[in-house]
Amino acid sequence: MKTDFQTGSTESSSVAQSFEQIFLEHWDAIYRLLVRMTGDPAEAEDLALETFFRLHRHPPQEGEGYNPGGWLYRVATNLGLRSIRSFKRREQYEMRAGKEALEVAQEDRPAVLFEKKEQNRLAHRALAKMNPRRAELLVLRYSGMSYKDIAEALGLSPTSIGPLLLRAEREFEKVYRALDQEEEA
């Protein structure tokens, strides 16, 4: 069954309500994910609204494995990654992501804070540069999703997540180190 949040039938009021329930249930998590990814609250809100707009406009098929939360995470992750890949905006995100990290960090020693900021900046660059599917997997996992939820969101078998995740982490590390060396040179 295809969910249609936009129909004008009498059935639509209950469906529309379910969209609102989904929105209220997942808004915080989606928004927080995008703030962490972009470091920019305004951009995060914009992208989070866009994520729900897509759900409203083209909702996923209902049926076995129907998981609007996973679907939202996946769309939000892709919007966030696309956004940090944007050449024009990447630099300002990196700056803001570093600033965001400083503001949430418990640490208050300047040298440690500076190092953390640099790490975040490089991590953003690495995510933007690496294979998009692997970057997506890393974002989903490190933002706290279980293997089961990741598997549902990406349409994969839960047993494949471990190997794919390890591959993604290795590529991330490789790209991160290369960027680090490139900047030092």
Partner: protein, 391 residues
């Protein structure tokens, strides 16, 4: 389980995601444990670098209920803007004019003069008036692709182009722009433009087939609106002089496609061109029409079509001097407007809400030139300062 675990299983075990049989093997297999320790080091490294993805967010986020309100506003805005675009999607609008067949017409001072042996009304824009319109009332037209195409076909078959403006040409300075455009181009003092471009003049004639237009109105469910017979075959000639665009900051390419992309955009466009401000200067276009064409009557029909009640449309029509006014229909919920004093005259400041692709445009007319300052941002004070620094 005797077979050793693969790296993927060992990785899953670190997250507590390995099945029971695998875990049992791991507990009793020193070789697998050793390999897992190596993997653990790699994973811990990545986890440290990606820890920002699970850090607590600052409590500045909009609450879910507030965000839901923003969401509904955005949906309504997009609906209205989409309808607005479909209705007014024509090169004329991009030139800064709103001329809509049968609906609302660009008008100005009627000065009767002989032209090719015929008496025509000659119009010239002298002031700007905004009319808020609820475009959601036009679902029938805009939601119907066939009907939309018929409207587009009617418009394109009704227009004969005499002169095309061509692509904008970048010039070196205000003096060159003045020379090419044929009027005195004003550039704010003390500011260096990032680009000055000139777009050529355009001219076209509109000839309406009243029967076809009425049929479309009927099909869109508005058979209550009856077009006057005077529009049938009436020749309306429009001449748009060359215009000049002066850009400040990093601005999108002046090509139509790029501009359309920006207009379609969400909030990102504003962040992509945060410092872009564009000043457009256009000598008032002239519109000539047969004297028997009752413009006020057509305007009223147009306003009713866009969703106003008959009484509202009649009341508005009476307040406007249709002989000298550029009427800009604005989506009711997607933009606000106010009158402001600018450049020594009264201008109109139009703003789109800040939470969804903020934009503003400041319009005024002085000494026969239409000026418009627009930006993808919220700092409309900047436009007023810029306007008031014109020489």
């Amino acid at each position: 389980m005797k077979k050793h675990l693969n790296d993927g299983d060992l990785r899953a075990a670190l997250d507590g995601e390995l099945d029971k049989a695998g875990l049992q093997h791991l507990e009793s297999c020193p070789a697998c444990q050793e390999r897992q320790n190596l993997i653990r080091t790699q994973v811990q490294q990545a986890a440290r670098r990606l820890s920002f993805l699970s850090a607590p967010a600052r409590p500045t986020r909009p609450a879910a209920q507030t965000a839901l309100t923003h969401f509904h506003q955005r949906i309504n805005n997009r609906k209205e803007i989409s309808m607005f675009r479909k209705l007014f999607a024509s090169p004329l609008v991009r030139a800064g004019l709103v001329i809509v067949l049968i609906l609302v017409v660009v008008l100005s001072i009627p000065s009767t003069r002989a032209l090719a042996g015929k008496f025509l009304n000659l119009f010239r824009v002298q002031q700007v008036v905004v009319v808020p319109v609820d475009f959601t009332g036009m679902q029938q037209l805009t939601g119907n692709q066939t009907l939309g195409k018929q409207v587009s076909d009617l418009i394109s078959s009704s227009i004969t182009t005499q002169q095309k403006p061509g692509s904008p040409v970048t010039v070196a300075d205000a003096a060159s722009a003045s020379q090419q455009a044929g009027f005195n181009v004003r550039v704010p003092q003390g500011l260096t433009p990032s680009r000055i471009s000139v777009e050529g003049a355009a001219a076209f004639t509109i000839k309406v087939d009243a029967a076809k237009a009425q049929a479309l109105l009927n099909e869109s469910g508005r058979s209550d609106l009856v077009l006057p017979s005077s529009i049938n075959g009436a020749d309306v000639s429009v001449t748009i002089p060359a215009s000049v665009t002066v850009s400040f900051g990093t601005c999108p390419d002046p090509s139509a496609q790029d501009t359309a992309n920006i207009l379609n955009g969400n909030g990102s466009a504003g962040r992509q061109y945060p410092d872009c401000v564009i000043l457009a200067e256009l000598p008032t276009p002239t519109v000539s029409a047969p004297p028997e064409l009752n413009i006020a009557q057509l305007a009223q029909i147009g306003l009713e079509f866009t969703g106003m009640t008959s009484d509202q449309a009649a009341a508005f029509t009476q307040t406007v001097d249709w002989t000298s006014t550029l009427v800009i229909p604005l989506p009711k919920n997607a933009a606000t407007y106010q009158q402001v004093t600018v450049d020594g005259v009264t201008g109109t400041l139009i703003q789109r809400p800040a939470d969804d692709a903020p934009q503003y445009a400041l319009l005024w007319i002085k000494n026969g030139i239409i000026y418009a300052i627009s930006s993808l941002g919220t700092n409309s004070q900047q436009a007023l300062q810029l306007a008031n620094s014109l020489p």
